[in-house]
Symmetry: C2
Subunit: 250 residues, 2 copies
């Protein structure tokens, strides 16, 4: 499918048919990862392919019991990964200096760009995908499950499969909310009101507020979905993981 059309028609798919992905199709998607631009062409990322039912049950628990993890035939976990590169250096009389935070972030960039290549390659072939934000929260549990060595940290996950149904396109803020020309134009009170007006006016928003007995959509985020204490707790856990996996030499 045309790349622009694929991108414009993206929706996250949260419910999947019980239908396998063929080996060829899976391979074509993974090849899209391989062709990704990476820092210095170092390819400092890796992908764990989960298809085994027992592994998916474990992943289902780790990812907060989201059903799409069980339903989708393939779950792909993308890791920042300096392990292979470091091993290569050590076998070639070169001393790797990649045990620092910058290197973790560099490897995360590689992994995330690869993930989006994979997402588009899947969608272009009629598959649906959804990103799992729980990956960073649960990095340590994923490290244990996949037996990831030092130098490897999961940063995102895609579930991939055939959609049970295609939902409507999700609303987005207008382009002016994310694009700035030459310098950053900070938002006035009126800008914020204007940019969020459409999102706040949706029926779906009104329903959410009723169900949750809250006054504003923003409160759904700060009180229910991403509350401060949860963010702080997972933040500290993730920093510990980065340290433990060998990326905090200062």
């Amino acid at each position: 499918m045309d790349a622009l059309k694929t991108i414009y028609e993206h929706r996250s798919i949260r419910s999947y048919l019980d239908k396998e992905i063929s080996k060829d199709t899976l391979n074509s998607i993974l090849e899209a990862a391989v062709r990704t631009s990476t820092t210095g062409n170092m390819q400092v990322y890796s992908i764990i392919v989960s298809q085994d039912e027992e592994m998916k049950k474990e992943l289902h628990k780790i990812h907060f019991g989201q059903n799409m993890v069980l339903e989708a035939p393939v779950v792909l976990t993308f890791n920042a990964d300096f392990n292979r590169f470091n091993k290569w250096c050590e076998q070639r009389k070169a001393e790797p200096g990649y045990d620092n935070f910058l290197s973790f972030f560099t490897a995360s960039i590689d992994a995330l760009i690869a993930a989006q290549n994979v997402a588009i390659a899947a969608e272009a072939q009629g598959l649906g995908i959804c990103y799992l934000g729980t990956t960073t929260y649960q990095a340590q549990k994923l490290i244990d499950l996949f037996k990831l060595p030092k130098g490897v940290i999961p940063v995102t996950t895609l579930v991939v499969g055939y959609a049970k149904e295609i939902p409507e396109l999700t609303d987005r803020l207008p382009q002016e909310a994310v694009v700035h020309y030459e310098t950053y134009k900070d938002y006035s009170k009126d800008d914020i009101d204007r940019m969020y007006e459409y999102k706040e006016s949706l029926e779906e928003t009104k329903k959410l507020l009723e169900e949750n007995k809250l006054e504003t959509l923003a409160q759904i985020f700060t009180q229910n979905r991403y509350p401060k204490q949860m963010n702080m707790d997972f933040s500290n856990l993730f920093l510990e993981v980065i340290n433990k996996q060998g990326f905090m030499n200062q």
Copy 2:
């Protein structure tokens, strides 16, 4: 252009024609960013579009004098950005709790996935792109240049324009070097030798070694391109930026 073909035929373009990108084309590329999957549909990223010659001269200096920054008609800087979202929360009787590392990383994921959508949307329309890894090294200078407020940190940059010439596809490691099934299979000495054999055998590699009077390709990375002390220095600077921009509440 077909999405898979666009992805498989990607090459980084480092030399550009003196040819503008039309407003419509630029707009279609930025719309690809807007349609990106983001965490909780919060869209916690932003993009700075640089077209002004004076701004590009400043960017050229900041990005280590790489000529493509001057040549390409458009430079796009992608930021992790909680500023707009925080302002919205504050205007809507909601207390944002996004001043921690996890939130910075969440916003970085949004920014990086948006960047790859933009890259593919550009390439599908016959444009060339190149990522600038210098963005994280020089985050503070970019913050100053673009006047980025607290809550905003640049994480990657794309130069975009019409290629002066189309280089050959760059080599990649075989798929087995980045893909693992079910659990991580750590690499044996033989695995590393086999996976890097092709890359090490290239004429281009031999030329690099001669020019740099080094024995192995890995040494080109550890001694010339990404040496330990440079990584450590930029790592500490980047961590300071993350703290200064308000993402290190622990």
